[in-house]
């Protein structure tokens, strides 16, 4: 399994042609206290860059963009009851969706862990 990152602070952990998607700890830190997460329905299809979820903190509501094109296999409904998990475990327990990738070729356009870390330093 490899994890890739986007410039908009989403991560995707890929295993073959399925992936788990969430937002990074950096992004969660920027948001402040997360109060609500709006997730899509299973089966929903997205193109890379489409907004597919919303993370609400007290002062802002941020769109979350799909790192790759695909269809939603599963949503993490635990987040509806416990949105604070995003602030605590953004890159593990607080995953948003599991997706089936439409085109694994798109992964070449994402950053790896080292590149993302360097990207964040520059912000």
């Amino acid at each position: 399994m490899t994890t890739y990152y986007t410039k908009d602070h989403e991560w995707i952990r890929v295993d073959g042609d399925t992936g788990t998607v969430g937002i990074t700890a950096y992004a969660a830190g920027q948001l402040g206290d997360v109060v609500y997460v709006e997730l899509p329905e299973t089966g929903a299809k997205f193109a890379r860059g489409d907004d597919f979820a919303v993370v609400e903190s007290v002062k802002a509501a941020s769109d979350v963009y799909a790192p790759v094109s695909g269809a939603v296999l599963e949503v993490n409904s635990a987040l509806t009851e416990a949105p604070e998990k995003v602030s605590e475990a953004a890159e593990s327990e607080a995953w948003f969706v599991r997706v089936k990738l439409a085109d694994t070729g798109e992964l070449t356009e994402l950053m790896d862990e080292a590149a993302y870390a360097a990207f964040c330093k520059g912000l």
Binding site: G32, D33, V35, Y36, E56, S57, V58, K59, P83, E84
Partner: protein, 523 residues
């Protein structure tokens, strides 16, 4: 000598007020007051009503099954309840509200007296028009003032609030485009990133797509970007601008902007929230504006009432006038006033009706009273004093705070948080102002300035009040620059401390529910 060991002490004991607990929960004049549902009972009522006769009802069975269970209070209890709650509110009658974009000016009491004349307060919108000629004439008079002050030929009086007026203006633009056969193709509306959130929200409500334009280094619309965005002109519906803009600056290139938009086949919507800076000195009609809403609760002194009601009459250019909504007041040849209520005849091109009845009459009475009180000469002075006050505040604070832009401002002064030390934020400065006895300034708006602080004094603040305010803010600003951590716990002296907004949003509790009875498990 004989010692008198009786008698009460006369020196004040040295105890910190914060350490004192009270049994009642009240603290001196600041009274504790629980929720209505914790005080009242469902059997109590503070209104004496005649006993119903017990006639057979004619509801056909459509009767409420479960009583509301809502408690009532006797009159003395009710008065206490609201008096005590009122003590926990700041208000313009109490002190300065330096809220940028809100125009918190004094609310004249004559306005309230006039609004309560039975001839205005106790008339029904649908009673025969012959019996309300005075009301219709008032609406017509107010409409004339608004048209004359803005230099525009037409006005829609029915929008209920500023955002509603924006909707009115944008719906008129939409209708004009449909009439030209371009309703499906012209969907793009240009909106500056500094715009008030209602602007893009309104555009979307009308089915438009928002195309954001950035500001230049001087805080105004970036003309190069505007020209670039207008290169393809067949999809442009119009532009939504605030002028003076939300940075408190007059858009220098406004006439050129209007020309470019018109040449591109679009319309110019102007957000009139900042009209207080230019009323009596500049007419939007002379700038090429096609539609502009006016906030009667800002420029024209109607009270904010804790969040409303507002009123947002919208003026139109010749180009948009035919599409204005119904109803509107017209005067017949015989001198009688009449409401045009349907989309036909005089109003056949109207985009329709936005709301029930005719508009916020209660606010019309207040606004006209205000306009008659000030007159044309007074209103001009209003704008000049508003702008003078804002520049005075900017001048007094520019050496300790960071003005967002160089040069004079109009009716509001904008600062960024660049002057604060690491870890101290705009919100800390704002909350510290509360301890000094002021409502905070507008924070984090406009979005184009980091940690924005927007201060609008209005013309009804005296120089002494402004000096006092600047003294306080200057001191707080210095503490912020030095990284004073105590700012983070402010406010310390308000009726409530900082509230947990995260908790309110995570587990929303939007009404009172009876607490579960004490657990029976102990038995």
């Amino acid at each position: 000598m004989a010692m008198n060991t009786q008698g009460r002490p006369t020196a004040a004991p040295r105890t910190s007020a914060a350490a004192i607990e009270t049994v009642s929960g009240s603290r001196g004049l600041l009274q504790r007051e629980d929720l209505l549902f914790e005080i009242g009972t469902p059997e109590t009522t503070g209104v004496d009503l005649p006993k119903p006769k017990g006639l057979k009802n004619r509801l056909g069975g459509v009767a409420r099954k479960v009583d509301t269970g809502l408690p009532g209070l006797s009159e003395p209890q009710a008065v206490r309840h609201y008096m005590r709650l009122s003590q926990r509110n700041y208000a313009i009658d109490l002190g300065f509200f330096p809220l940028g974009s809100c125009t918190m000016k004094h609310n004249p009491r004559l306005n309230e007296k006039m609004a309560r004349l039975p001839g205005f307060a106790d008339i029904h919108p649908l009673q025969p028009q012959a019996t309300v000629q005075g009301a219709l004439q008032l609406i017509d008079e107010l409409a004339t003032w608004l048209k004359t002050l803005t230099g525009m030929p037409s006005v829609a009086m029915s929008p209920k609030a500023g955002a509603h007026g924006e909707l009115c203006g944008m719906l008129a633009i939409r209708q004009a485009l449909i009439a030209r056969g371009e309703g499906e193709t012209r969907k793009r509306v240009l909106v500056p990133a500094s715009a008030h959130g209602t602007n893009p929200a309104t555009a979307v409500q009308c089915g438009f797509i928002v195309d954001e334009i950035k500001a230049n280094a001087r805080g105004r619309v970036d003309m190069a970007e505007l020209r670039e965005k207008l290169q393809h002109t067949d999809d442009v519906a119009g532009i939504m601008l605030t002028n003076p803009n939300t940075c408190g600056l007059f858009e220098t290139d406004i006439k050129e902007i209007a020309d470019l938009i018109h040449k591109a086949g679009g319309y110019f919507y102007c957000d009139g929230a900042n009209f207080n800076a230019i009323v009596g000195r500049v007419r939007p009609g002379d700038l090429g504006v096609d539609a502009m809403h006016i906030n009667l609760h800002k420029t024209f002194s109607t009270p904010h009432g804790g969040g409303g009601p507002g009123s947002g009459p919208t003026v139109f250019s010749e180009a948009l006038a035919p599409y204005a909504p119904v109803p509107f007041v017209t005067k017949d040849e015989d001198g009688l006033f009449r409401l045009v209520e349907h989309v036909d005849g005089d109003a056949k091109d109207s985009f329709g009706r936005m709301v029930a009845f005719h508009g916020q009459m209660g606010m019309f009475v207040r606004a006209l009273t205000y306009m008659l009180s000030h007159g044309a000469d007074g209103l001009k002075q209003v704008a000049e004093d508003a702008v003078l006050n804002a520049n005075y505040v900017q001048a007094r604070l520019k050496h300790v705070m960071t003005p967002a832009f160089e040069g004079y401002c109009m009716h509001e002064a904008l600062f960024s948080d660049a002057f604060t030390a690491d870890g101290i934020e705009t919100i800390d400065i704002a909350k510290a102002l509360i301890d000094e006895g002021y409502h905070p300034m507008t924070m984090y708006f406009p979005l184009v300035v980091h940690g924005a602080m927007l201060i609008e004094p209005t013309e009804t603040e005296s120089k002494a009040e402004l000096d006092r305010f600047c003294d306080s803010l200057e001191s707080i600003a210095r503490r912020a620059a030095q990284g004073d951590e105590t700012l983070k716990g402010a406010p310390y002296l308000a009726p409530a401390k900082r509230l947990d907004e995260t908790r309110a949003a995570r587990k929303p509790v939007l009404k009172w529910t009876r607490p579960a009875p004490e657990s029976v498990a102990a038995e």
